[in-house]
Amino acid sequence: MSATLGLWGIPLAVLGGATRVSTPFLFVSLGECLTERSGRVNLGLEGTLVMGAMSGYGVSYLTGSAWLGVLGAGVIGWLLGALHGFICGKPRVNDIALGIAMMLLGVGLAFFLGKPLIQPTAPRLGAIPFGSFSDNLQLRAALDVNVLFVFGVALAPLLHFGLQNTRWGLVVRTVGESAEAARALGYDVNRVRLLATAAGGFLAGVGGSFLSLYYPGSWNEGLSSGQGLMAVALVIFARWSPKRCLYASLLFGGAGAIGPALQSVGITTGYYLWNAAPYVLTLAILVASSSATRASADMPAELGVAR
């Protein structure tokens, strides 16, 4: 490494790390945002994320195409979301409790089916080298941006627009704000929620494939450590807005990149404590953005019923 950047390498590495670490957050939170806008909570996205990581890696390994892996992960996520949506459609089934169950099932299934995938190497996703103009290796590493991240960044305003300005967005929001009103208008509330949960699962699965196919970029059982759950908390912080989900994901990504960035310049004291930074941040944000006396005005009203 010729021209080192010294301490400037830290913010640069955090910035570069943020685009990598934030991508799973971004996809899961956009998916959960869509699901929650329809009035349902899917806490099981942590399991979906891990299943997506495993199946994405598996499909990529078997077909030799990383992009097919991404698609496969999305399909698995879609199926898990549909299962959650279907069971929750039954009377008296609690979506929070089912989410916990689906989280454990997803992780268990992924570990079971993923056992043969720990050894082999699957084709990985490539990156767009935005930093190719520079000779500095650190800068180039920081500016290597994965296509999925770009997709996610584009998806956020798209989903925002879709929810605010299209017919299906209106239907989803109506179902989320008042199931009674939606029913009176002739919409099948359970069907809309099932589709919204399945679509959310698709996005979470894609987010999982990023973990195994790009960063960290292999399949193992320690791949996800609560990113799926943090993304659910992040939706509350983003007050159910896809655009704010994007900003919040970048913030979380930055927090998650601090530990590795410090390590990359040789600061290893408190490495494990820095690893806890995203969780502490999530908790702090939840404390700051919640209120004991009233629900957030942006919260879909049907979520309040479920609590």
């Binding site: 069971i87 268990g108 408190g270 404390v287």
Partner: protein, 345 residues
């Protein structure tokens, strides 16, 4: 229809065993053989039954971490975190008290474990009561923070320099460790766990406090209007549950490992959540359910050896069981004279 809370979970259990059979068949094994080996590995011999009881010990206590707050209407799933920080605090106390009499060491060790666990889940309850923070998410976030703390302390400040391959705290000393219950090869955590479940049952079903908690769980507004200190009930049930899980972690140190290291985070906290849901958050029902799930966990080793199935097989069965169980909630009030409508998982 007092039979429903018994029959429906039983039905869910059978349905999930059937689904698990399909899964096992897809993995290329004969389901009946697998069931038989699981029975043999869990309850078949005196040896395997003791193994089952050994694994049920932590579950008895971590299940209370979900069951007690559930009475007040909370869904706490952070028992793993309370277990881990409880174990870490216990090991730290045990090492700090080295040189004092055995009774002092063990007393301090368990007090530290209970206090750390109570603090951990109590914080979740406090945030819930004061700031309206969702306790399900906060308790799970605290679990990740707890595991990070464990890693930090066993790799750094509390590390035994002689633990090379697996960073650990110093050993509390073989002579100071807890022995087995006479006549059994199971440590005292079993007796304490059973007593704790009975105590929790009495507290929740036979005392004013338990009644107030049930009122908070049933209708928080009504409870507040009738003058019940909702916040203190929420925090207390959470802290008690956390203390139970913390004590479980302390037993893991005092009776099994003798020190704290990464093997504390073995998933007993998560299985405890399943136990509590399967027991419908009834502290007495936690006892048989813990033994049952302890049996499933104990049979995992045999499944690996006999069939070459991965260790995650047990997690898959637990996951299926959990999902089917929650789905079976839809059956309540719909069974008439044994003409049950089947639930699809």
């Amino acid at each position: 229809m007092k039979l429903e809370p018994l029959l429906i979970p039983l039905f869910a259990l059978l349905a999930s065993l059937a689904l698990f059979g399909v899964f096992v068949a897809l993995a290329g094994q004969r389901p009946l053989d697998v069931y038989f080996e699981m029975y043999r590995g869990a309850f078949g011999t005196w040896f395997s039954f003791q193994n089952t009881l050994q694994r049920a010990c932590p579950l008895l206590l971590t299940a209370l971490c979900t069951a007690l707050p559930a009475r007040a209407g909370l869904v706490v799933i952070g028992g793993e975190g309370a277990f881990v920080v409880g174990g870490l605090a216990a090991a730290a106390a045990g090492v700090a008290l080295a040189g004092t009499p055995r009774g002092v060491i063990l007393g301090g060790l368990f007090a530290a474990g209970a206090a750390a666990g109570a603090l951990w889940i109590g914080l979740s309850g406090f945030l819930r009561a004061r700031r309206g923070v969702n306790e399900t998410i906060s308790s799970l976030l605290l679990t990740y923070i707890g595991v990070a703390l464990l890693n930090h302390f066993v790799e750094g400040p509390l590390r035994d320099p002689e633990s090379l391959n697996k960073p650990s705290t110093r050993h509390i000393g073989e002579a100071n460790m807890l022995g087995s219950i006479p006549g059994l090869d199971v440590h005292w955590g079993l007796a304490v766990g059973v007593l704790a479940c009975i105590a929790a049952y009495v507290l929740m079903e036979r005392t004013v406090f338990g009644f107030a908690a049930a009122l908070v769980g049933g209708n928080t507004r009504a409870a507040r209007l009738s003058g019940i200190g909702v916040a203190s009930i929420v925090v207390t049930t959470c802290a008690l549950g956390g203390a139970a899980a913390g004590v479980a972690g302390a037993f893991e140190v005092a009776a099994v490992h003798g020190r704290a290291n990464a093997s504390l985070a073995a998933g007993y906290g998560y299985t405890g959540v399943l136990v509590s849901f399967l027991a419908r958050h009834n502290a007495l029902a936690v006892i048989p359910v813990s033994i049952f799930l302890g049996g499933i966990a104990a049979s995992g080793g045999l499944l690996q050896r006999v069939f070459g199935l991965p260790d995650a097989t047990v997690s898959v069965l637990q996951g299926i069981l959990f999902v089917v169980l929650i789905a079976s909630d839809t059956l309540y009030g719909r069974i008439r004279w044994g003409a049950a409508k089947g639930a699809h998982a």
